[in-house]
């Protein structure tokens, strides 16, 4: 709970100064994170389109935060199971990433380009933080917008997510996640 509050506070602190003079910061409140996993009962897909993220090119810092309850499933029963039996979203309402984009050179985001960059930091899910390093794609548009994409795998066991006995035989421990962030320059 403390770490999610810290992440929200960090996001606020990062955004506040740029209201007056920020030129190197990008923000979105509609980041999209989707995941799918194979189960013996078929594919399960979920999407969250309300993730907030701040990216500061001057410090390479990257923050992503999302509400676990904002994931939408095709079926209400799946959404209920996800929130109550897997993620315990009342106890752990947010999933966050706090880290840095590695290998940023000066002016790298000043012209249209497509870049593959490593992102490293702490991924916190279900109240448990783990260090991660992932490849990400960054697309700089001619209009100054920046789009970031990252595909990575999460092992439920790494984050102490206990799969209920009834679901153990049908749910995979490995979940593939796709993060898409359409930033606007502040």
């Amino acid at each position: 709970m403390f770490s999610t509050r810290c992440t929200t506070a960090l996001l606020v602190l990062m955004v506040l100064p740029v209201l007056s003079y920020g030129q190197d910061r990008y923000f979105t409140r509609t980041g999209e994170l989707s995941f799918g996993c194979d189960t013996k009962m078929g594919d399960v897909q979920a999407v969250n389109r309300m993730a907030t993220s701040m990216f500061d090119t001057s410090t390479a810092s990257l923050e992503v935060s999302m509400l676990v309850k904002a994931f939408e499933f095709e079926k209400a029963a799946m959404q209920h199971q996800f929130n109550n039996e897997l993620m315990e979203s009342d106890l752990f309402p947010k999933a966050t990433f706090t880290g840095r984009v590695l290998g940023l050179a000066d002016g790298i985001f000043s012209k249209p380009d497509t870049l593959i960059l490593l992102v490293a930091g702490d991924l916190t899910i279900h109240g448990k933080a783990r260090k991660v390093v992932e490849r990400s794609q960054w697309v700089v548009g001619a209009d100054g917008t920046v789009h970031a994409y990252c595909r990575f795998k999460v092992l439920l066991s790494d984050y102490d997510i206990r799969v209920p006995t009834l679901l153990k035989d049908v749910l995979s421990n490995e979940v593939e996640v796709l993060l898409a962030l359409d930033y606007e320059k502040l």
């Binding site: 709970m1 509050r5 929200t8 996001l11 606020v12 955004v15 506040l16 209201l19 409140r29 509609t30 999209e32 999407v47 389109r49 309300m50 993730a51 907030t52 935060s65 999302m66 509400l67 309850k69 904002a70 939408e72 499933f73 095709e74 079926k75 209400a76 029963a77 959404q79 009342d90 309402p93 947010k94 359409d182």
Partner: protein, 136 residues
């Protein structure tokens, strides 16, 4: 013998009906807020203030419930993945109440107008997030 057959057919029918109803219940899509009676009615600025002051207490009070929120439309987002969000003014330069609508059922909004939106509260993440929204 004949009555035993009838009982077996009835029992099979009940089992089949039960399985069909269970499957139907499992396949049900998440409910929309349209037509639901809100559990609370609150101004956008007050709602944000409650979450900023005590996120856990406000979460207990509002999360997973249909709430009606009144405020002035600050911004309307671009459609994305079949969804559109509307931001309600809170008096805070950064944070708003973000209301997510299905693009197909999105009412017409204009910036600066005062509206009441009802939706399922998902919590506070810079904005207070309402989903599966409708005009109240």
């Amino acid at each position: 013998m004949k009555s035993r057959t009838i009982v077996m057919i009835c029992a099979f029918g009940v089992l089949l009906g039960g399985a069909w109803m269970a499957q139907r219940q499992y396949d049900r899509a998440p409910e929309e807020a349209a037509g639901k009676r809100p559990k609370a009615t609150v101004e956008a600025s007050i709602l944000l203030q409650e979450f900023m002051e005590d996120e856990a207490a406000a979460g207990d009070k509002y999360n997973d419930k249909v709430i009606a929120v009144t405020g002035t439309v600050r911004a309307i987002g671009e459609p994305k993945g079949g969804k559109v969000y509307v931001l309600l003014e809170t008096g805070n330069a950064l944070a708003a109440v973000a209301c997510e609508f299905d693009q197909a059922e999105m009412p017409r909004f204009e910036k600066g107008t005062r509206v009441t939106v009802q939706g399922y509260c998902a919590g506070y993440n810079l904005d207070v997030v309402l989903q599966r929204c409708a005009l109240a």
